[in-house]
Amino acid sequence: MLQEESDLSLIIAHIVQKLKSSNLYAQLERQAWISLQRPEIKLESLKEDIKEFFKITGWEKKLQNAVYSELSVFPLPSHPAAPPEHLKEPLVYMRKAQGSWEKRILKSLNSMCSELSIPLARKRPVGEQKELLSKWNEMGTDEPDLSLFRPVYAPKDFLEVLINLRNPNYENGDSLSFRTHLGLIQVPLKVKDIPELKEFFVELSLNTGQLGIDDSTQVPPELFENEHVRIGQKVLAEEDSAAAQQYVRQGSPTALRAELWALILNISSQPEDALYYEQLKTNVIQHDLLVDSLIYKDVKLTASNDDYYFVFEDYLYQVLLCFSRDTSVLGHFAYNSASPPKSYIRGKLGLEEYAVFYPPNGVIPFHGFSMYVAPLCFLYHEPFKLYQMFREMYVRFFFRLHSISSHPSGIVSLCLLFETLLQTYLPQLFYHLREIGAQPLRISFKWMVRAFSGYLATDQLLLLWDRILGYNSLEILAVLAAAVFAFRAVNLMEVTSLAAAEAVLADLSTLKVMPLLQIFLFATVT
């Protein structure tokens, strides 16, 4: 009991410290001062009266949302003796693997820089700045020569690193034992099995209404859809983050989705946020980074070629270029196993006062990175709102998809979860694919790394991302990947090569996500 109390007070102190530096603290203070003029605030019971005032005017709700947001995002402070690296990633061998992977990326970027003789960062001359400012809303029309640039890495390079990940203290011998991993991932992380997943995703069960299933044209809307929309409007009126997160597990109505997601991520558009975005825009105009060319190349290669997203090309530049200048993203490295690349101002090598991070937000984009932003363009039309939503989604979820960690939502755990589910519930299919040299993870990895963006139809993708937000976990990506394999199992059993298996699974755009998930989790005979 003593231990739990001291843990709780530690957590409370930690959250208070975090919130003190936020805008909300200043606003609450200002509101408290203003409230002193109200007649119902009396000096004898000042504390209770102000608390009551906050409750009535909705400020307590905002504080509640902020605390809930902190609890969901930041891992709680662990043991006091644990060093900061332990918070990033507790397993030493994974930290080392992430470190060497980062080194490879840096070497690749450095060699690109020296080969092409392009500086990592360059201050734009005034004429160029003016030109860029005038073309800000139509950067897609620019056609710079990007043929010499190549993406720093692609998901398949990252997959090779994960395949070679080994725990030095683990029995990695050739002899088959009861725990031999037949898939590609060879580390013994704890993953959920189907009974645990059924409990975790209980709101997706057969007897609970779902958007994506129970709103189809054959089902009369009085049965589920109308009531669900009504509840959604009520949740928005209450402005409660936790309620919104619970609500969205059954899917979000299209009309309410933008506001619901903003409520869950606790994003309220204040004038300061628009100003902050303008400041980032100024940074983009003043300095030209090598990373910008990588972003251009990525957008041209992926989003511009996609039938659904090519219209948003200009938005993608506006968001991603500003994203790479945003130093507030550096905060997420406290709980990300990755570390931001460091460099020094020219001529001041080794002097700590001249050490800087490159790019300023510490995130080097890879091939397909722009697909994290593209689906959000359907929901948010003002660049700064779109930017805020993307940034929050990145520092909560997407960073886990391209860094090596033991977190249950990290890409390593997702891969292992996928392979375990497939092996346990479709053993014949798994064995067959393995025999023909088509390890299933080789096909599904790219879906999971991009969170299925660009592979599913957009309305289905948004229904899937509803559940990611609702459950605050990426495990649903692995379950969906296994469900897709289960759906196409009959065709896959007949293929005889990896290329043929890829062809069977090449087009996912006709799939309906929610029925697949429901059947796989709740209706498959095991």
């Binding site: 003796a81 902050y276 905060g331």
Partner: protein
């Protein structure tokens, strides 16, 4: 509450295994570590802290000093404490753990020796142990600091030397300086951790290549 680290001596780990160590196939699943405190009198144990390395279950036995002339007996104070919920997977495998006095089964006064019994039933791990072991006893209740003599026995008041013309009153100056100091302390205490948002150094962002450290 304050605590003081107790220096200890860890005797080498002894692995327990049934049968002949050289011929048998499997790895030992039980290891025993003896921890003695040669330079300390029998003390009251407050906390044991360590970093786990793939140990699944921990038992601790303690040998306490008894006042009578009976030989000290070994008593189990922690039985099969679970460090890894699933011994076959990585959960909890490299975590920092603290065990407190109130979690123990017996009274921890007058500890002479500790025996840590580590168990790892899974054959998948090559080795298991606990690292960075720290043992703490209760720190002194009130800080027993001795004040310097001049603080506890101030010298009798001396007549201050007469002020030179034009200099401000030292009493006023010292109270103003004290106020300024209080202000700076207040500001220092309420420092936030928010970044300013500048990524360049004095407007310059001309970089070398990226560093590999």
């Amino acid at each position: 509450m304050s605590r003081v680290s107790v220096p200890y001596h860890m005797k080498g780990t002894v692995a327990l295994q049934v049968g002949d160590m050289r011929n048998s196939q499997g790895r030992p699943g039980v290891q025993v570590i003896d921890v003695t405190f040669p330079s300390t009198k029998p003390f009251e144990l407050q906390e044991i802290m360590f970093k786990n390395y793939y140990t699944a279950f921990l038992s601790i036995r303690v040998r306490q000093d008894t006042s009578m002339h009976t030989p000290a007996k070994w008593v189990t104070c922690l039985r099969n404490y679970c460090l890894m919920p699933d011994p076959h997977s990585e959960e909890g495998a490299q975590e920092y753990v603290s065990l407190f006095k109130h979690q123990m089964l017996c009274d921890m006064a007058r500890v002479l020796e500790l025996r840590l019994i580590l168990r790892q039933p899974s054959p998948l791990w090559l080795s298991f142990t606990v690292e960075e072991l720290q043992v703490y006893q209760e720190g002194p209740k009130s800080p027993s600091m001795t004040f310097p003599k001049w603080l506890s026995h101030p010298a009798p008041c001396e007549q201050p030397t007469p002020l030179l013309e034009g200099l401000p009153d030292p009493g006023r100056v010292s109270s103003e300086v004290q106020q300024m100091w209080a202000l700076t302390e207040m500001i220092r205490a309420s420092q936030t951790s928010t970044r300013i948002g500048r990524f360049d150094v004095d407007g310059c962002y001309d970089l070398n290549l990226l560093s590999y450290t």
